[in-house]
Amino acid sequence: MPPRYILKVDNVSNTYYETVGFKKVAKPVLESVSFDMLKGQIIGLVGESGSGKSTLAKCILGVIDYTGTITLDTKNPQMVFQDSTSSLNPSMTVERILEEPLIIRGGMTKGERMKKVEEALDAVGLSMEYAKSKPGELSGGQRQRVCIAAAVISEPELVILDEPVSALDVTIQAQILELLAKLRKKYNLSYLFISHDLNVVYQLCDYVLVMRRGKVVEQGYIDKVYNHPEHEYTKALLEASELIIKSGEN
């Protein structure tokens, strides 16, 4: 069976226009970004702040305009944001938040929906006692679990994770990463994982894109890029992050 590409990004550029005085100044945010994503793959997107990582995600979701072509071979890609507080509607209960995507999709009875909600909560490791809580009553880690549950409940094939663990402390980070790996296996998901933390990317991803100032400066399989970086910027990033890679894995 030939490999199935779930996402093909070809020569995508995005420009942001800033008004300085009366003149409009073009600021390129993305410059001819290209990469392909196989079904089931986890691609890490690393780079400093302002390198265009989130903009690329928005282009893929079709929220903003771009030039070039993006071919999505899947319906309803979902997204998990860094800020779990603003990702969850403060006036809804957890149960209601998770039920919403199912209501929008339609075709399920109340009973079926509630059963799926229960499954999703269980899948992200939250007990049913949280079902009736409002997001404000949960901790950061719990909120992020709810966000992940809300993203996977509509059975997407592709989930874009925009710095999902950056706002969490290290132990919770590890739990969430473990959860993401587990869910990927369970639902056969593909992730586009955006992060500035190279350690986190190393733990989770198979393939990595290194971005700088809107360009992909280096891409390749994780072991290759981490052990034999070619671009100066990648080398600098790796050095700066004090990466803990076990020497045995070389």
Binding site: L61, V63, N76, P77, Q78, M79, F81, D83, S86, S87, L88, N89, P90, S91, M92, E100, P101, I104, R105, A150, S154
Partner: protein
């Protein structure tokens, strides 16, 4: 109720207490007043406050306390309707403008600006002069004039909420605009609308009283605080100063109760934000 008693939010406590007393008076006034508010006892004209007539009587010998009870009811009902119209239509206009943005938003907001540019009582006077008036026309006219303030508030909330991630997520899930407006955004803004509605209520009470004072409020067979204040003017010096005093006092009490309640709700809401 218990949390209200324990709370250290004195604005809210005092406001709630005053409004509870007024509401009780109004509700009682619907079913029972000490005297028929329109019964003219010619033998007791302009009598001073006594146990028989708590607030005294007016120049026709009508019991002022009974009339104030029903006058408060009229103020309440009229202000409530005015606010209901302003709130419902204002919310629809604000939501449409804030959600869609662009030219549509600009046009709606400029219309609102144009309406707010005139003093509302003045504009209402002009409209009434042009179209004449029926019993409850004042409600429609003032209600319309209350739309812009609500619309502007709802719009700014919508603009803010629209960029929230949960609204983006809802859109990603394929939710239709109406669903996003009613299910995802509106439930989050009632906390802002509640104190605003209280202040709006307050303005409506004052607007209604001013209109009645000028003789163009609700029809003459209903007791109205504004008109009573107008009628009492002639007896301010010499005749019956308590007439104006009691009527004025009840308007002040109503306005103060609402203002305190609004202030208290606002404080409560700000505390919730922290």
């Amino acid at each position: 109720m218990k949390t209200l008693l324990k709370s250290d939010n004195w604005y809210l406590k005092c406001g709630a207490f005053i409004m509870a007393v007024i509401l009780l008076t109004v509700l009682t006034g619907l079913f029972w007043t000490p005297y028929d508010p329109n019964y003219m006892d010619t033998s007791a004209r302009l009598s001073s406050p006594s146990f028989a007539h708590l607030f005294g009587t007016d120049n026709f010998g009508r019991d002022i306390f009974s009339r104030v009870m029903q006058g408060l009811g009229t103020s309440f009902m009229v202000s409530f309707c005015i606010n209901l119209i302003g709130l419902i239509i204002g919310t629809i206009v604000g939501a449409a403008a804030g959600y869609s943005g662009g030219l549509f938003d600009d046009v709606l907001m400029r219309i609102c600006d144009a309406i707010t540019a005139f003093p509302s009582v003045m504009l209402a006077l002009v409209i009434i002069a042009v179209i004449g008036r029926g019993d409850m026309d004042i409600i429609w006219i003032l209600g319309t004039l209350f739309i812009p303030s609500y619309a502007r508030m709802v719009r700014s909330e919508f603009v803010q909420q629209k960029s929230c991630n949960y609204v983006r997520m809802a859109r990603l899930m394929g939710a239709k605009p109406l669903r996003i407006i009613f299910v995802h955004i509106l439930p989050n803004i009632y906390k802002t609308l509640l104190p605003a509605a209280t202040i709006g209520f307050n303005n409506a009470v004052l607007a209604e009283a001013s209109m009645s004072f000028l003789g163009i409020g609700v029809s003459a067979n209903r007791p109205s605080l504004g008109r009573m204040l107008n009628e009492s003017q002639g007896f301010l010096i010499g005749g019956a100063p308590w007439y104006a005093a009691f009527v004025g006092f009840s308007i002040v009490l109503l306005v103060m109760g609402l203002a305190l309640l609004g202030e208290g709700l606002q404080a409560e809401q700000n505390r919730g934000k922290k």
